[in-house]
């Protein structure tokens, strides 16, 4: 066995042990080491060189990155999630011909879809979706994300929130929390457009808060909202924009230059 692979494998074992212990600091530290070690392998993307241990190395690297993604969810670090996911992705897309499919693949892809949904990056969400095969779409993890998105787009926010009860995997929990927040922001945005003001009770209900306290907290995040006499006033930049001044000077200049150009047509 290649000493490098042994080294990586051993480090990975330690990582997994720490992961099971939920010792996330240790995990992050080990992961960083692992990644540096991985750069030594020529068989990995983007080089994909044909080495005798290529398959083994690829599998190992994929495994590491899959763990890295899950770890990032556990430590609730979206940036790390994105980073690790992208590094993992070539193993799914480009190396699929050489490696057996990973059991974790759909779970991770589903997580990624959910992340995009949470971050309200709908366009990217659909791009990712298009890349998936028909079989993949049948997978419960993916299906879950797709259904959520549909409800979200319809505006059936209650269905989004109720989907919590049917989680395909425990790691999805974190994203559902975030999703609730995203949904609330959407509703708030609609409210601003739809109403000048709402009674506190109605607002609480519409925004799906369980108590006034939470509502007040939420309102604090929006400086242009205001509570007065038991009503919430949405005073965003409603006042119509002042009538624009006619750019007379510019128009005159333009017309003159047209005239001059016409004169030049010879």
């Amino acid at each position: 066995m290649d000493p490098k692979i042994t080294e990586v494998s051993q480090a990975f074992e330690r990582f997994k042990a720490a992961f099971v212990r939920n010792d996330f600091d240790k995990c992050s530290e080990l992961l960083s080491q692992l990644k540096v070690l991985l750069t030594k392998f020529k068989s990995l993307p983007p080089l994909f060189e044909e080495t005798p241990n290529a398959i083994h190395e690829l599998t190992l690297a994929r495994d590491i990155y899959e763990h890295a993604v899950v770890l990032s969810v556990k430590i609730e670090d979206l940036d790390a999630f994105e980073r690790d996911f992208f590094q993992l992705k070539p193993y799914y897309t480009d190396a699929c011909g050489r490696l057996p499919q990973s059991p974790q693949e759909y779970l991770i892809l589903g997580l990624n879809l959910l992340r995009l949904l949470v971050q309200n990056r709908i366009a990217e969400f659909h791009t990712e979706l298009e890349l998936l095969s028909a079989i993949a779409l049948e997978n419960p993890c993916i299906k879950h994300a797709v259904e959520l998105e549909q409800s979200f787009m319809e505006g059936a926010y209650n269905r989004v929130l109720s989907a919590r009860k049917t989680l395909p995997h425990e790691t999805y929990d974190y994203f559902m929390d975030l999703l609730a927040k995203t949904v609330r922001d959407e509703i708030a945005g609609c409210n601003e457009k739809a109403y000048d003001s709402l009674s506190v009770n109605d607002a609480q209900q519409i925004l799906l808060f369980s108590s006034d306290q939470e509502l007040v907290e939420y309102i604090k995040e929006h400086p242009e909202w205001e509570i007065k006499n038991g009503f919430v006033y949405f005073k965003q930049a409603r006042e119509s924009e002042p009538c624009k001044e006619i750019p007379s000077l510019q128009l005159i200049n333009q017309t003159l230059s047209y005239a001059r150009e016409l004169e030049r047509i010879v």
């Binding site: 960083s32 983007p46 994909f48 044909e50 980073r83 996911f85 070539p90 050489r98 001059r260």
Partner: protein, 999 residues
């Protein structure tokens, strides 16, 4: 198995890795991205800010790599400026020797950038302007690489553009063929270096390099020195050659002198001549003390006397002391070279050539004369102009002498031009010029006699005869100018003086002319304005300001116009130096001054093809409110572009379709000027539709321009030449044609056959140097729109198309060489013939209604004429003869057809001196067993011949005239008799008898 084809589909993973905290990961990502950037730049481009921040991160170890990556991405995005600045940040990672589009593009960009920075710094004279040292380092790396790889031409181009003269020198000295490299360098410095000052620097460097070479090419060096205006250098080279033991060196010196003369730079030649050291021994001293004043050594007459004195001197010398033989040889050579530099030899030889080879066709003139209505004075004078142009420099004035009666109908200004025409015919007849014109000249003090018009014309004629070689006649013209206050005479004297003293910037003459200007007489003032310009050509003197001030002061349009042109002439060839003045003129309220501004642009940037000038001219051509200015702006394009003729038709083609007839006229003349004598097919195609324009003056311009383009092009090389000749004839014969276009047609037939069919219009000398006289001549010629007598200025632009071989004694030995092309390609046009009766059937009825008077006169002429080809056998009826000329085309087509029966030889033997038209030059070969070998391989012009068999007797052809002229040292004093005997050839016609005008 699929692994071989495995390829990443996205750079997303690598990009994500950039955000990792560990530097090793960043490095890994960067180096991989750098390898894949060609495929994934669209993806990477969204992450450029991250990479940029890496580059800016002081603590990151691999900043150059980040910079290189960013640079490549920007390159793909087309943001070359950003790309370049990051590439510079990449330092040595940016490999100039890499063979990729990226590197090529960026290098080009870097060099451009560096060149423009350096240029800007040099132009602002701001040494402190900072050039990024990294940029400089990159460019230097590139230059060194080119030099090491032996790509000297690239290196030279870059070095010149970047103003790195040190590198230029290195490239030239290290190249294996220094001569070829230098020649390449000269070419590009003329065609691509726009700034005049900088071009001087380059040339100075070249001269320096040249002189370091083991076998210097003196011909080229002297040309460069002339451009740099360094007469000392030329003089010292000439002296070195003349003092040499070897005869060939002396021949080379003579050749250099002839080449310098060809460039017509009068002031420079004078300087060289004055700087040539005289022989050290006694005789030379005596020569010099013998000549009246050191300053006037240059005058033609005195040179001849000097010649004589020289022989005297050496005789005396032989008597007294034993002379140093080397000094004696040197003295003899220096006399010769002084003669050459004075232009005297070349003028004389040219005159002989033009006279002996004159092939002008009097029948054409006759046809014109007969078809022109007497009462139409415009066409009448046009015929006189045409005669002058046709015989320019040939001294053949048969036509005038045969038609004195007809000539006498010219009155007033027509008489002025008729007299001045003699000057064109006798152009270059320096020795007898004054005596020829004597009958018409104002008689000092006598107070009686001729009309002021013929007197003024005669003074103008003297100027034309002595154009650019006026040392001998200047004083006389000045006296004439001062002693008269008749404005017509002043007009003639001013023009004459301007011509004779062209470009000498003589302050005394200037003051005389200025006095005339301040009399504020419209006629004299106009000529004075032009004359001042001629005098100050290319000096950019502050006198221009004075002239401009007066132009604002005076009320006379004519004076303003004269001054405007004069001011334009002063900035001739000064390029950027003239910008202030041009700006001032083009912004003036007065359209006439703006019009002068156009000429200033034309002349300041003549032949440079400068983009800025072209842009400005095009701008005025379409946006000025005055038609005159627009016309001139288009016309001026011709001057700016003449060095690159192919461009002109393309640039003005749109303008030639303008709705404005003035713009069309300008376009026609622009093509005529810049493509003159080339027969360029595009030019002809552009002019053809204009010759049948709806507006008469456009037709006039197009016909003249066409003639200029087709001059000396034979029908065999372009069939449209024949068609054009027939078109001209048709217009001249057509009674209903407008006067303007008829005049154009008459002039065009003159230009087409100018100088006895032995001259062409050439604005560039063989060494690609602008011929100042020619350009100035055409510029003033284009003024004929306002003032017909200025038509004669076109004669300044004529240069003989001759090969004249000379031996050591500057004689023309008999010598044969080969023209390796079909003779018919370059032969003279067939003389027009009197048609036979068979073709008379096609007579158009309109022509038969010619007035009886014209018929009678014509038939009388015919009887008078004994030797004319016309009287040989054909119908005596003048009416028929005249009208049947129309059918010559069929004749001309027929005769070559007959010839074709026998196969035409593929070569032709020419005898020295021979007519060699520009297109023929590349076919000229020298015979191998020939006795004479040319010093430099040139196919036309004056060529010194090396005699391989010096012991055999030489057979001289054509001209012993120089010696016979020398034997007649007092040549200028006697009257007509001496002038008749002066030309060694027996058939030399006497000048016309003085004819009386009946006012």
């Amino acid at each position: 198995m699929a692994g071989a084809a495995t390829m990443v589909s996205s750079a997303g993973g690598l990009l994500a890795m950039l955000n990792e905290t560990h530097p090793a990961l960043k490095l890994h990502a960067l180096s991989n991205l750098n390898a894949f950037v060609d495929y994934f730049w669209p993806e990477i481009s969204t992450s450029v800010p991250i990479i940029e921040s890496l580059y800016e991160d002081e603590e990151f170890d691999h900043r150059p790599l980040a910079a290189l990556l960013v640079s490549k991405v920007f390159y793909y995005l087309g943001e070359l400026n950003d790309s370049l600045s990051y590439a510079l940040g990449a330092g040595h990672l940016f490999d100039v020797s890499e063979d990729s589009d990226y590197v090529h593009t960026l290098l080009a960009k870097a060099i451009d950038e560096y060149a423009s920075l350096n240029t800007k710094a040099a132009e602002a004279h701001n040494e402190s302007a900072t050039v990024d040292p990294r940029l400089e380092a990159t460019v230097e790396r590139m230059l060194d690489k080119c030099i090491v790889d032996g790509k000297y031409q690239q290196a030279i181009g870059m070095a010149i553009e970047c103003r790195r003269l040190d590198k230029l020198e290195e490239a030239i000295t290290r190249s294996d063929n220094a001569h070829a490299t230098i020649n390449y360098c000269i070419d590009i410095s003329h065609s691509f270096v726009n700034r005049r000052e900088y071009r001087r620097e380059v040339l100075q460097l070249l001269v320096k390099v040249y002189q370091q070479l083991p076998s210097p090419d003196y011909l080229s060096i002297c040309q460069r020195l002339m451009f740099l205006d360094e007469p000392e250098g030329v003089a010292s080279i000439l002296e070195k050659l003349l003092r040499s033991e070897i005869k060939e060196d002396a021949l080379l010196a003579f050749q250099i002198a002839f080449d310098l003369v060809e460039n017509e730079h009068q002031a420079f030649l004078l300087n060289v001549r004055n700087r040539l050291p005289s022989p050290k021994s006694l005789p030379s001293e005596s020569v010099h003390s013998g000549s009246p004043e050191p300053g006037s050594v240059q005058s033609e007459n005195t040179t001849t006397t000097e010649d004589v004195q020289m022989t005297n001197g050496s005789q005396v010398d032989g008597n007294t002391s034993s002379p140093d033989p080397r000094e004696a040889i040197y003295a003899e050579r220096i006399t010769k070279i002084r003669g050459i530099l004075s232009g005297e030899n070349s003028i004389q030889l040219t005159l002989q050539f033009l006279y002996s080879h004159n092939k002008s066709d009097l029948l054409i003139l006759k046809t014109i004369k007969q078809s022109v209505e007497m009462r139409n004075s415009v066409c009448h004078s046009a015929t006189i102009y045409t005669n002058a142009i046709m015989h320019a420099g040939t001294t053949v004035d048969t036509f005038l002498r045969e038609n004195l009666d007809w000539l006498s109908r010219a009155t007033n200004w027509a008489k002025f031009s008729a007299t001045a025409g003699l000057g064109v015919i006798h152009r270059g007849h320096l020795k007898q010029g004054r005596s020829l014109m004597a009958p018409y000249l104002p008689q000092g003090g006598a107070g009686g006699g001729g009309s002021p018009y013929s007197e003024g014309g005669a003074l103008y004629a003297l100027g034309l005869i002595h154009a650019n070689h006026g040392e001998g006649i200047k004083q006389f013209l000045r006296d004439s100018l001062r002693s008269t206050n008749v404005e017509v005479i002043q007009h003639g004297a001013c023009l004459g003086l301007g011509l004779a003293a062209l470009g000498t910037a003589d302050n005394d003459v200037f003051d005389d002319i200025k006095n005339v200007l301040y009399t504020d007489s419209a006629v004299a003032g106009e000529a004075a304005g032009i004359s001042m310009g001629l005098l100050m050509v290319g000096t950019a003197s502050e006198k221009a300001g004075e002239m401009l001030a007066y132009a604002h002061e005076t009320q006379h349009e004519k004076i303003i116009r004269g001054l405007a042109l004069g001011i334009a002439l002063t900035v001739y060839g000064r390029e950027e130096e003239a910008d202030t003045l041009i700006e001032q003129m083009t912004r003036d309220q007065d359209p006439i001054l703006r019009y002068g501004g156009m000429y200033a642009l034309a002349l300041a940037y003549q032949g440079t093809g400068n983009n800025k000038a072209i842009r400005q001219l095009l701008h005025f051509a379409v946006s000025d409110v005055s038609d005159d200015v627009r016309r001139t702006a288009v016309l001026a394009l011709g001057f700016v572009l003449y060095a690159d003729q192919e461009q002109t038709p393309r640039i003005v083609s749109l303008l030639s379709e303008s709705y404005n007839p003035h713009v069309r006229y300008g376009a026609a003349l622009a093509v005529g000027i810049s493509c003159a004598g080339t027969g360029l097919s595009e030019a002809i195609s552009l002019l053809e539709p204009l010759t049948s324009d709806v507006v008469d003056f456009v037709r006039q311009g197009a016909l003249i321009a066409m003639a200029m383009v087709m001059i000396q092009i034979s029908e065999a090389s372009d069939s449209r030449v024949g068609a054009f000749r027939r078109q001209l004839e048709k217009i001249i014969l057509d009674k209903h044609e407008d006067t303007m276009s008829k005049m154009g047609a008459i002039l065009a037939s003159g230009i087409l056959d100018a100088g006895g069919r032995n001259v062409t219009i050439k604005l560039l000398s063989k060494t690609k140097h602008d011929k100042i006289t020619a350009v100035v001549g055409l510029a003033v010629f284009s003024q004929f729109w306002y003032w017909y007598p200025l038509i004669y200025f076109i004669s300044l632009s004529f240069s003989p198309t001759a090969f004249i071989g000379l031996n050591y004694d500057l004689k023309v030995p008999s010598f044969e060489f080969l023209s390796h092309a079909k003779p018919s390609l370059f032969e003279y046009p067939k003389p027009t013939t009197v048609p036979t009766t068979t073709s008379a059937v096609k007579l158009p009825t309109a022509v038969l209604s010619t007035s009886a008077r014209a018929k009678a006169r014509a038939s009388k002429k015919e009887q008078d004429k004994t030797n004319a080809p016309k009287s040989s056998g054909a119908e005596p009826s003048a009416g028929k003869g005249k009208s049947i000329d129309k059918d010559e085309d069929s004749m001309q087509v027929d005769s070559p057809a007959d010839k074709k029966a026998e196969p035409e030889p593929s070569y032709e033997i020419l005898t020295n001196p021979a007519r060699v038209v520009p297109a023929q030059e590349k076919f000229i070969k020298f015979l191998e067993e020939s006795r004479y070998v040319p010093v430099k391989s040139a196919a036309s012009g004056f060529v010194l011949l090396k005699d391989l068999r010096p012991n055999e007797p030489e057979v001289l052809t054509l001209t012993d005239a120089p010696s016979s002229a020398a034997s007649n040292p007092g040549g200028s004093v006697t009257g007509q008799q001496s002038s008749a005997s002066a030309m060694a050839v027996d058939e030399e016609p006497a000048p016309p008898q003085p004819f009386e005008f009946t006012p």
